[in-house]
Symmetry: C2
Subunit: 197 residues, 2 copies
């Protein structure tokens, strides 16, 4: 778009890449495909991402991770149960808004093996998962959980939500997400009340 | 291999496709790539899979699903906790045996959006997830769990294990899987003792 400041155009491309990856996966995503997808000139797309697909995917993962980090940071202020509910609601919306065609771009980049030299998207994904886990674990600890249990519970929340989004795409239904919600809420309550029957 | 009976050669190709998909994802898998990967003649590979990549992926998902179904059926006979432990151990072995380069082929096919006409691999994945969930839920019910809770717990086990395998690939470590193990075992015990504090 003429007149659009470069940072916005660049950010739009990164957002477009995250959207492509969460729908089609990493292998189907390329600088060329992104230019088509985002209706941007191929030259400028290559200009912004001289590192090609690896750079694009890494930035897309980091972009998507930050959106989730912001949501978790904001919602966990209301407590771990409320944070969990908001996290689940966000994924539910993603699935229903896209007719089950989109999932998590962070997960997408780690289920395709990459050559060693192209490890940056995977590393960005590891950072994302770790930072989400840390946020939830910190909220649990703050609300009374024992640190090791907080970490285990937080890891389970991230793993279960990521897995259930894939189950929902398979079934074309939000049922798996709805079914795990109650279980996760129970676990969170057990952690903060230090209840282990 | 000359003299190899056709069903074995075909089965070897399906196993090879499942291995490619769990490593590289669906998009990077094709009949042509499989012939190279399995060192099979391209002509025979096309001969076995006239439906191309869609057929290959569908059969690969079903093949992988059945291996897991067999393991779950066998190990759950010893009880739901033992079944869970065996399921987790299987994934741990997959990750460490492949240096974190392979995950679950069933998950891999559902995180890449496919055209409507190519929905068969996704449908096979939905069937796989549902049958694993049913096996765990049945074992939980048999050991005293309330049916709705059994279903919720079983869905959480499948979702959390699938998600944690992706987390392990991201981190190149089995820690996420080890961390969720204790939480899942706790949940399974709560379900069969009908304990909800």
């Amino acid at each position: 778009m003429p007149g659009t400041p470069a940072p916005d155009a660049r950010r739009k491309l990164v957002a477009g890449a995250a959207d492509m990856i969460r729908r089609r996966g990493l292998n189907a995503t390329s600088v060329r495909e992104l230019a088509k997808y985002a209706r941007a000139p191929l030259g400028s797309t290559y200009h912004y991402f001289p590192g090609g697909k690896t750079q694009l995917a890494t930035e897309a993962v980091t972009f998507a991770a930050e959106l989730t980090t912001k949501l978790l940071t904001r919602e966990l202020e209301r407590g771990p149960v409320e944070g969990l509910r908001a996290f689940l609601a966000m994924w539910r919306d993603t699935l229903t808004d896209t007719d089950f065609r989109a999932g998590c771009p962070v997960l997408a980049v780690v289920v395709e093996d990459l050559p060693e030299a192209e490890g940056a998207p995977r590393e960005a994904a590891a950072t994302a998962f770790a930072s989400w886990t840390d946020l939830i674990a910190a909220s649990l600890t703050e609300h009374g959980a024992e640190p090791t249990d907080a970490r285990g519970t937080a890891t389970l929340v991230i793993a279960a939500v990521e897995g259930s989004v894939a189950l929902c795409r398979a079934e074309q239904s939000t049922e798996p997400l709805d079914r795990i919600a109650e279980q996760l809420e129970f676990l969170v309550r057990c952690a903060i009340t230090r209840t282990r029957p």
